[in-house]
């Protein structure tokens, strides 16, 4: 029976765009389970720790001599922001996979990157300001709120990934059905799979921005404790700006890469086939977003120090 199944399953029947989808998806899954991933996580953890210590020391110096160290706190925050964006992180991964699979104009790509970073800074400021300055909450409670905010963001990502995946599957199914009547559809204007959708872009930005950046929380919390909260806010904004600029560059790079890939694919295929390629890339991108959101929900926690 097995042999008859194998005989029935002809490799030639698998069309090239399905191969593309399979290769992309198995690549993601392999990366997620690989040593490379855990090495990456290790690297981020240690570098973040070094930066956190540096920021912490800087905030303490600002408390002693605000006029001397105020500016350098902002400078270090800005650099931290850039590093934070260049290093691997969930926000970038989402932006890159979203833009690569849902091509946008250069302006919208930058807008997405910029608003996501600034949302992140604003979430941190809003959270710490309202909880610590107005409501006099304890920092343990700020941590719980930050974690809940992040969880909402991940939920949004999961929903978004699911929505895009479902839509691309439906569209793929439609293109499969219309396969025989290719001649007529080639002239139609539906080659561009993704229409401009500002509300979807905003949703992506909010989903990313709901997770406040740890560095921002750190300088906000320490500066509020040391009575120099305004410097904490300025530092956080500088950090957001750094992240925004660096993420913009990444977003543009991913946009160019997609364009190049699309052009290459057009050289070897007709419009119908090209549409299938883009849909498959879109599906793979959304699967990646789902995987990422799931991993983030899985590891989202509020561990506490058992001693206090």
């Amino acid at each position: 029976m097995l042999t008859s199944m194998i005989r029935g399953f002809k490799i030639r029947e698998i069309k090239p765009h399905w191969w593309l989808l399979i290769v992309l998806c198995s690549g993601f899954i392999a990366l997620y389970n690989s040593f490379l991933w855990s090495g990456l996580v290790h690297y981020i953890a240690s570098t973040q720790l070094t930066f956190h210590k540096l920021l912490n020391a800087q905030v303490m110096q600002v408390a002693q001599q605000p006029e001397v160290y105020g500016f350098s706190l902002m400078a270090i925050s800005f650099v931290y922001g850039v590093f934070h964006a260049l290093g691997p992180g969930h926000g970038k991964a989402v932006i890159v996979s979203y833009l690569a699979s849902n091509p946008q104009s250069r302006l919208s790509s930058c807008l997405l990157a910029f608003s996501a970073a600034m949302f992140q800074a604003l979430t941190a400021i809003l959270l710490v300001t309202s909880l610590s300055l107005i409501l006099k909450y304890k920092y343990a409670e700020i941590a719980v709120s930050a974690s809940n905010f992040s969880l909402i963001g991940y939920g949004l990502l999961l929903a978004l990934g699911g929505f895009i995946a479902l839509r691309s599957i439906v569209q793929l199914y439609k293109t499969e059905k219309t396969h025989t009547s290719c001649g007529s559809c080639c002239s139609s204007a539906n080659i561009r799979v993704q229409e401009k959708s500002l509300s979807q872009l905003l949703l992506v930005a909010i989903a990313i921005g709901l997770r406040p950046c740890s560095g921002a929380l750190l300088i906000l919390v320490t500066s509020s404790l040391l009575g120099i909260y305004q410097f904490g806010v300025l530092g956080t904004l500088a950090m957001g700006l750094g992240t925004a600029l660096a993420t913009c560059v990444i977003a543009l790079a991913s946009q160019y890469a997609t364009k190049f890939l699309n052009k290459t694919l057009t050289l070897y295929s007709d419009h119908q086939q090209q549409k299938r390629y883009s849909l498959c890339i879109q599906l793979a991108g959304s699967i990646f977003i789902i995987l990422l959101a799931w991993a983030l929900i899985d590891t989202n926690n509020t561990l506490t120090n058992p001693i206090l």
Binding site: S38, Y139, L218, N305, I307
Partner: protein
């Protein structure tokens, strides 16, 4: 503790999140009985700063705030046998409630460092001549790393016996270090991890 969570809930931050420097003095009386030990826990700068600010916020009075925080800390670690395991030969000695415990704030480079001092006096002193004493102090989930900065941080006080204390560093495998530092999971998965990173003090009289 709040701030550590702030960090771990965001970056893929690794265990441990807080650090404690240990100092231990083990007391042996003139008859050769182990009577107890005292321990100082010096919390790291960041933890100390946040906790100090929080207790000042809550109590508005340093002595009262420190005393209340000390009570909370001791109550939190009591179910875990004060995070210490004391053995004479192979016998585990149960730890009593510390006879005296205080939380002190020491200024280091302009920022407060909190030091929890506990003094344990055994209900039944144990004869230790010719036996080895081992003491391990660790936080089971490895959220907090507890280490002796140097051999000098372990002392044995005995008027009559000649005792030697030895500090044995933990020797966790590469794999385990990688696991701990890439850890960002739930509490269950980390339980028991602290054991593998625990330093051991052995005393021979």
């Amino acid at each position: 503790m709040g701030i550590a969570c702030l960090l771990c809930s965001n970056a893929a931050l690794a265990h441990p999140h807080n650090w404690i420097d240990l100092r231990t003095q083990i007391n042996i009386d003139e008859r050769g009985y182990l009577t107890g030990f005292s321990q100082h826990w010096s919390f790291d700068q960041f933890f100390s700063m946040i906790s100090y600010a929080e207790l000042m916020n809550e109590y508005n009075d340093e002595p009262i705030g420190l005393a209340s925080t000390a009570l909370k800390m001791v109550a939190n670690v009591a179910p875990d046998s004060y995070l210490s395991e004391l053995k004479v030969a192979a016998e585990v000695i149960p730890l009593p409630v510390p006879k005296r415990y205080t939380l002190e704030s020491v200024a280091v480079n302009g920022s407060p460092i909190l030091v929890l001092k506990m003094n344990f006096i055994l209900k039944e002193p144990k004869l230790v001549t010719g036996k080895s004493i081992t003491l391990q102090t660790f936080e089971p989930s490895y959220f907090v790393a507890m280490n002796y900065p140097s051999q000098e941080h372990v002392r044995v006080v005995s008027n009559t016996l000649h005792c030697t204390a030895q500090l044995i560093r933990a020797n966790p495998s590469e794999e385990l270090i990688d696991y701990a530092t890439s850890l960002d999971r739930n509490v269950k998965e980390t339980q028991g991890l602290g054991d593998d990173f625990a330093e051991r003090v052995t005393i021979q009289c």
